[in-house]
Amino acid sequence: PLGPANSLPLPRSFLLKSSEQVRKIQAQGAMLQEKLCATYKLCHPEELALLGHSLGIPRAPLSSCSSQALQLTGCLSQLHRGLFLYQGLLQALAGTSPELSPTLDMLQLDVANFATTVWQQMEDLEVAPAVQPTQSTMPTFTSDFQRRAGGVLVTSHLQSFLGLAYRVLRYLAEP
């Protein structure tokens, strides 16, 4: 069970729309994972963990959204920064292959739009930082294989990240 959320009033429409956006991105991400598996037989991210470390593919934290002590402003901020990070990672994967491009582009757009939804909600609650975050240095993919493997890892990390985000949103949407 998630801990008590502090008093920030999150509008129900934000929670409903955000939940739907998460599901949309998860569906899009699953499509990309299916294509990476079917096309390149790269089906298991755990087989690419070492490569992930060597490429320096980051994971976005959601510690403020954890069940122990949900800290809403921090959670929203981490959610936005995480989405912003994954948007950048997906952009860095552009050009992986013509077959993947439509799905990858759509996934990147959906993540970017969700980041905007969260950011605008933070602005409405007046908890948004003065300036938008700047993108950190992205890993460099020097071969087609690295981009494909990067696609598997980034999507897998994104799905885990969204899984926790979805739990928090569902919890906050409970009457």
């Binding site: 409903l16 939940s19 739907e20 599901r23 949309k24 569906a27 759509m106 757009l109 739009n113």
Partner: protein
């Protein structure tokens, strides 16, 4: 150049006035001292101008005003009587029409297959002039009182009254302002503005219904029941939806009976209270819920026979 026409405007309001002047230069040497300038509109007979005068530089100028120009297109000729046959010295094309009316009935649908937002409108009556329609929009938020990033104009293909904004220009789950601009040589008009989130105008496709074999169910089937299953249209599976079912006996012309609300998917559903061994026609439609959306159309019919 012997003769030269100048017109008040190449494009005028249909039925409105047009004023033209034609000047005959002095070096048209083979002419009389006081040549009579004539005007011809399209196929109509020649007529003298309202006024002809000699200008200080020696040129002759004739002026004519056509009070009610009722052609959408016509040629105006400046002629001279020369021998027994009027000679054409210059020609001007005149066009007339109407300014655009305000485009109306603007509506938009988000297509989850093409991931584009298609808006259509009523262009209004024919203006008789080349009229360009442009779908304009900008990103906004809340109740659309603020303008954020503008979006690339969407120019419909040859004369169509709809245009599709591609996914990359859309910011889903945020409101945007959309309107249509109509423009021709006689003016510009803007439609009223829509304030919408593209995801709130998604047009769903109907769910898929299928028959279940009553005998394959765990518990013995009750008489007078129908067994079916359904699932939402695949591209919309991420959306929470609500559905409604309608049924009617295949024969007898009874009206539809509606069953609602129903969940967006059910892999085993039993509907009872019917006479046994009777064939029923079933259809289903769904709508995004609780978030806003449009009803899908009714699904293709499913014919089911009630259990004995």
């Amino acid at each position: 150049k012997c003769g030269h026409i100048r017109i008040s405007a190449p494009i005028v309001h249909l039925g409105g006035p047009v004023t033209a002047s034609c000047t005959i230069s002095q070096n048209c040497s083979h002419l009389d001292l006081e040549p009579q300038i004539l005007w011809r509109l399209g196929e109509e007979p020649e007529q003298p101008g309202d006024r002809q005068q000699r200008l200080p530089d020696g040129t002759q100028e004739s002026t004519i005003t056509l009070l009610h120009f009722n052609h959408t297109q016509a040629f105006l000729f400046c002629c001279l009587q020369w021998g027994n046959r009027p000679q054409i010295l210059d020609q001007a094309e005149l066009r007339a029409g109407y300014p655009p009316t305000v485009p109306s009935n603007l509506s938009c649908i988000m297509n989850l297959t093409t991931n584009s937002l298609t808006c259509q409108w009523d262009p209004g009556p024919d203006t008789h002039l080349p009229t360009n329609f442009t779908l304009k929009s900008f990103k906004s938020r809340g109740d659309c009182q603020t303008q954020e990033d503008s979006i690339l104009d969407c120019v419909p293909e040859n004369g169509q009254s709809y245009c599709s904004i591609p996914r990359k220009h859309l910011l889903l789950y945020q409101n945007m302002v959309i309107w249509v601009q109509a423009e021709n040589a006689l003016g510009t008009r803007q439609s009223t503005q829509l304030c919408l989130d593209p995801m709130d105008v998604v047009k769903l496709e109907p769910p898929t219904l299928w028959t279940l074999d009553p005998s394959s169910q765990a518990s013995p089937p009750h008489p007078g029941c129908l067994w079916l299953g359904w699932e939402p249209w695949k591209p919309s599976v991420f959306m929470n939806q609500e559905c409604e079912l309608r049924h009617q006996p295949q024969r007898g012309g009874a009206s539809w009976v509606q069953v609602a609300p129903l969940p967006s998917s059910a892999y085993q559903y039993e509907l009872c209270g019917f006479p046994p061994a009777t064939v029923y026609t079933l259809q289903m439609r769904c709508i995004r819920s609780p978030l806003p959306g449009h009803w899908s159309s009714w699904s293709p019919s499913l014919e089911l026979r009630t259990t004995e």
